[in-house]
Symmetry: C2
Subunit: 686 residues, 2 copies
């Protein structure tokens, strides 16, 4: 081999090594089609963008934002500042073209195509909504080596599997300021979600400024509400990012806030109108399902709701309006003779029939504003117009098979979306949600029925979150669920998702999502600004209590309680717990000494962690509540170390006793997420 060939071989090899592999890509949601090619587009500071075609102005905002994010991440100092019209830079390396103006909503063409070659990137889409998706994909495609940033040469063509890909945020239980809404809209767009369902009203608060019904915010918001201008501003912000906002005013149940302002339309029975005062409602401070319910027999109820809709509907240009309708237990209806008489007179056998009567009265009020109704599954009745969307939410926790109402609705001819399985406030592992497809595998549906299933919606109920930690509840898990909504079911792969999710989670910081930084902030407060590494170690093996077992009965905490505690810093999918539990499985299968050594390292770390926490707690009362837990873990770790080191006879009953303490879930509102690993170790000792 001569020298020249040798050099060529080296170049070939280094090229082969630098060739991007499909496993390197951290795309989420995974695109429908992707073909990697050899080579790459090297990003340089002369990088520019050009936009052509028929475009909605949102593509200028979107592309300018794209440039700034790319610039911030790479420190490139691009010279192009603000993109304000088409064809400003005909020779730009990134060429974007769309064929027509897109409109934000359901069933829009969201498809896009990206082609990257060594000297040019082309984005083609039918609409600017597709362009926005393409730009997010491009940002996720960015690779780097030690000195440069680049995009791998490839062709992607992509489109969504489901058209309704939603996130619901409850701003009634805990109000979320404008900036929280905006950063979460940014993050939604980053993972191609397209519907923000805004739960604006519930027992704990009314959050919309109404100029004609000032009492609602004066008496039922504690001053925490959105002005109409703020609402319009958020709607515009979402529209610029391709996201539809669907407002919800939850009626006839969950009505304490409305009734705090307008007790006269409540269902509580008043024998003597003079007693009126005694029946007054007060804004709810606890969590749970409460009795205050609108009176369906009172014409004033409909007059008021109609006036409310007349003012709220114009704030939201989208086609859909969510009327809630869930969890009305009808207790006050049953106890009210006037309502009972009304039921009899109208021949309503059940409260569901009475609620259906109520719901049907709302249809024309909203039709007047060209709105289609969406409501929780309880609104389903045979008389609802077929354009109605049934929002399926009940599942095993509520005694129904998962998604039962979704299938029923589709079969009955209604459009429908699914939230059961995507209740992220339950603090379950991302795995649980990711493995819950919208349409169950066993469902037998015609094509028409299947087409009526529009998609899914993640629900973020806010009983136990504040603006400081809501991001850590929504993200990153929602990104994985977004993949379930967008990608082909063949792309759903747990292992690959977990790896990509870590990347996406980091990138969400770019958009202002505070899940990483605010965790540390809460721990700094708990530690009284001492070193937080031991608290962080503990938080990385602890998860908040799941499925409504925290705040038992909904009365332990009030809506204004301090959610600045250890559990509020912990998240689902505690990182070290996942690692430890997998490590134990691996060790028990393969019995490799290096794995045992890593297990021992964990055990030693937890022993030190506890003694450090004891030390820190001398100047930090908020550490006290976690000490019994870290103490139990430290005790068990010591015994396990002894056992591994054969220093004394294994005492299974002692180990089981110590394990039970670790597994008790009795401390600091958290559970120790390493218990499955610990239990397996104990079971396998002999």
């Amino acid at each position: 081999m001569n020298f020249k060939n040798f050099i060529i071989l080296i170049l070939f090899c280094s090229n082969a090594f630098s060739q991007t592999k499909i496993e390197q890509l951290n795309l989420m949601p995974w695109p429908q089609n992707i073909a990697l090619n050899e080579g790459k587009f090297l990003l340089k500071s002369n990088f520019k963008v050009n936009i052509t075609g028929v475009v909605n102005p949102r593509v200028f905002t979107g592309t300018t934002n794209f440039l700034r994010r790319l610039d911030g991440r790479t420190g490139m100092f691009f010279s192009q500042g603000y993109i304000k019209k088409t064809n400003e830079e005909p020779n730009a390396q990134l060429q974007i073209n769309s064929l027509k103006k897109g409109s934000v909503g359901i069933n829009e063409d969201e498809s896009y195509k990206i082609e990257i070659t060594s000297n040019k990137i082309t984005i083609n889409a039918t609409t600017d909504i597709g362009v926005l998706h393409a730009l997010e994909t491009l940002l996720q495609l960015l690779q780097n080596d030690s000195n440069s940033f680049y995009f791998p040469n490839l062709i992607i063509s992509d489109f969504p599997t489901f058209t309704w890909r939603g996130l619901m945020i409850d701003v009634a239980r805990h109000f979320q300021p404008v900036d929280v809404m905006k950063r979460n809209i940014d993050a939604m767009a980053a993972v191609k979600l397209n519907v923000l369902h805004w739960h604006l009203v519930d027992d704990q608060g009314w959050r919309i400024e109404l100029k004609n019904k000032k009492k609602l915010t004066e008496l039922a918001s504690d001053g925490n509400y959105y002005t109409q201008e703020e609402i319009k501003n958020i709607v515009k912000y979402a529209d610029e990012r391709g996201i539809l906002i669907v407002p919800e005013i939850d009626v006839p149940g969950h009505a304490t806030a409305i009734l705090t302002a307008y007790p006269e339309i409540g269902s509580k029975y008043v024998k003597d109108p003079k007693e009126q005062k005694q029946t007054q409602y007060t804004i709810e401070r606890n969590a749970g399902v409460f009795t205050p319910t609108l009176d369906p027999s009172n014409p004033e109820t409909y007059k008021l709701l109609s006036e409310i809709f007349d003012e709220v509907c114009p704030l939201f240009p989208g086609k859909y309006f969510h009327i809630g309708g869930d969890e009305n237990e009808g207790k006050d209806w049953d106890a009210n003779p006037v309502i009972q008489k009304f039921k009899e007179k109208n021949n309503f056998k059940t409260n569901h029939e009475l609620q259906s009567f109520f719901t049907l009265k709302l249809v024309p009020m909203l039709k007047k504003h060209n709105k289609e109704i969406i409501g929780w599954e309880e609104i389903m009745n045979d008389k609802m117009p077929k354009g109605t969307i049934i929002h399926s939410w009940k599942g095993p926790n509520e005694g129904s098979p998962a998604g039962e109402s979704l299938i029923n609705a589709a079969k009955k001819g209604y459009k429908t979306i699914l939230s059961n399985g995507y209740y992220i406030d339950l603090m379950q592992s991302v795995n649980d949600h990711y493995l819950s497809p919208i349409i169950p595998k066993e469902a037998v549906l015609t094509k028409e029925e299947k087409d009526r299933i529009l998609g899914g919606e993640v629900t973020m109920w806010s009983e136990l979150v504040t603006s400081k930690n809501i991001d850590s509840r929504i993200w990153p898990r929602t990104a994985a669920i977004a993949e379930l909504f967008w990608s082909n079911e063949k792309a759903i792969n747990l292992k690959s998702m977990k790896k990509r999710l870590q990347f996406v989670s980091n990138r969400l910081e770019e958009l202002g999502i505070s899940h990483i930084k605010n965790k540390k902030m809460i721990l700094r407060n708990i530690s009284n600004y001492q070193d937080i590494s031991s608290l962080e170690n503990l938080s990385n093996i602890c998860e908040p209590l799941k499925i409504y077992t925290r705040n038992k009965g909904g009365t332990e905490y009030q809506m204004f309680s301090p959610f600045t505690l250890f559990a509020d810093a912990c998240t689902s999918d505690a990182s070290n717990a996942i690692d430890f539990n997998e490590l134990v499985d691996k060790y028990l299968q393969e019995k490799k000494p290096e794995d045992l050594s890593r297990i021992n390292h964990y055990l030693k770390k937890w022993i030190f962690m506890h003694s450090d926490l004891v030390h820190l707690s001398e100047n930090a009362p908020l550490i006290q509540p976690v000490l019994p837990l870290s103490q139990s873990l430290s005790n068990l770790s010591k015994e396990l170390l002894f056992a591994f080191e054969d220093k004394k006879q294994i005492d299974k009953s002692l180990l089981n006793e110590l394990f039970a303490k670790c597994n008790s879930k009795n401390y600091a509102d958290v559970e120790l997420a390493i218990c499955s690993g610990l239990e397996k170790i104990i079971d396998n000792l002999n």
Copy 2:
């Protein structure tokens, strides 16, 4: 000694040990009078507040916020939610009384008195503004041991030394969203600042929505501006916290943004009106002093300004309006024959006389809205009404003695405030600012003249900050300057301030200030989400280039450039640098081996740090720019370690050469803040 006496002795001792000492208190600004007593008020979850007297509603908001902050910090779960009227809880442990409604502004009675005994806390103030100050003091007084939180028994009576205690935030160079303004208002209130000077307009942007002059935001804001509702909302938010907002529209210089919208009132000479197009102004993207200036000879200029004031003034209920007036070099005036003729005709000898003519035309326009004028020192002329406030800003950097115009203004009968010495964008040490009193010690002033000096104002110019790191530029240094404005000069103590500042800095997180968490966020981006400890170590010994040496000539960075670089994560007063430099001084004086050992530990840390950064940079291009610096430090550290260990002959010229590289300030826009310590070590080697 019998057993009983022994127990009493123990109790006495433990009480003596637990007695709070004055040095334990982390109050900032330090109160005028404080008398510590024995004992403490133990905080329990039954803690409640009661308000009596004649109060402005802001005291209800303020007290509710106080309760939530105390609750968040202690995890106490107080049952009292929202305080909405007086005398709700007559038996509450904290009793607050004020005599009359306060009003936000200058010269209000801001005094307060706090008395803490073992079972009761009493706050008395003339106005609710004083109550708000007292609540902030109370929050700073909170102490803890291992299990409980408490307030020490004491009596504080307090009032401000200066009535104008301001912070200016420039939102023109880099727009700052509503939430940034709000959290900084919270932080201002926490350290008893009372004036937010809002620099809303400059060459780089117009930030106020005007319904009658839409072109200003359409053409000169890049979409980054405050709506009128947002402005009102921020004004209200500030008022609720006792803070006056003083808006600034900077004229006749710094006018590029105004002239981008209205070129017809600019001073650029147009021979042929057809050429008008060529003289058009475009919004400025660089930093510096620019020529675009309003035309003082054109009646249209005054018509437009008057219309602007007519719309802007009603948004700000406060008494003062800042008209800027600084840095008008008059270049376009000199080059314009029409303006020259106007000067001649009016017998104006200098451009200053012409500017005075301009300024005097604004007086009645603002008087019409009951506004007094405040302006930068250049507006001073003999005809200004005596109510005018002269804002003194020039100093040695501009070739004037510090505060010269302050003294001149006071002697000429004008009210005046000082900003020279408080330019926190210069990135100097807090020490420099803290040791610059408003009234120079050598100044000879009558009582009347002294009384005209209203106070001081910190200035946060925003050429090199974004909403992500502005907090780290303003805080914590501004807290120390606030002490200079509020406290008695006898309380000014550098060592004590530094210790208390650390505490205050931590506490600012409670209010949402992001200086701690966003530093780490920027470093995570730079490290490409690898471990940031080495980058953090480096950032703790580096400070951003000072006094406008970064961004040389103002053209290296543009306003939309990515300020996500290493320098943007670094701050003044780099923590490890302070520690290291002090350590070196101590070692050179005392020559204790343990101090040498700590110096060696630092040197070894920096050697490891560099090799770790090299390793991390393999996957993080943004680390590359800091490597030459960490390399130089690592090389020097190695040589110094050799020298300490007597391993080889000391080669001074090599050491000096390596030191020069460390001290070059040529890398990554930072300077190595340990150079004074390193230099002393080298000088003392032999």
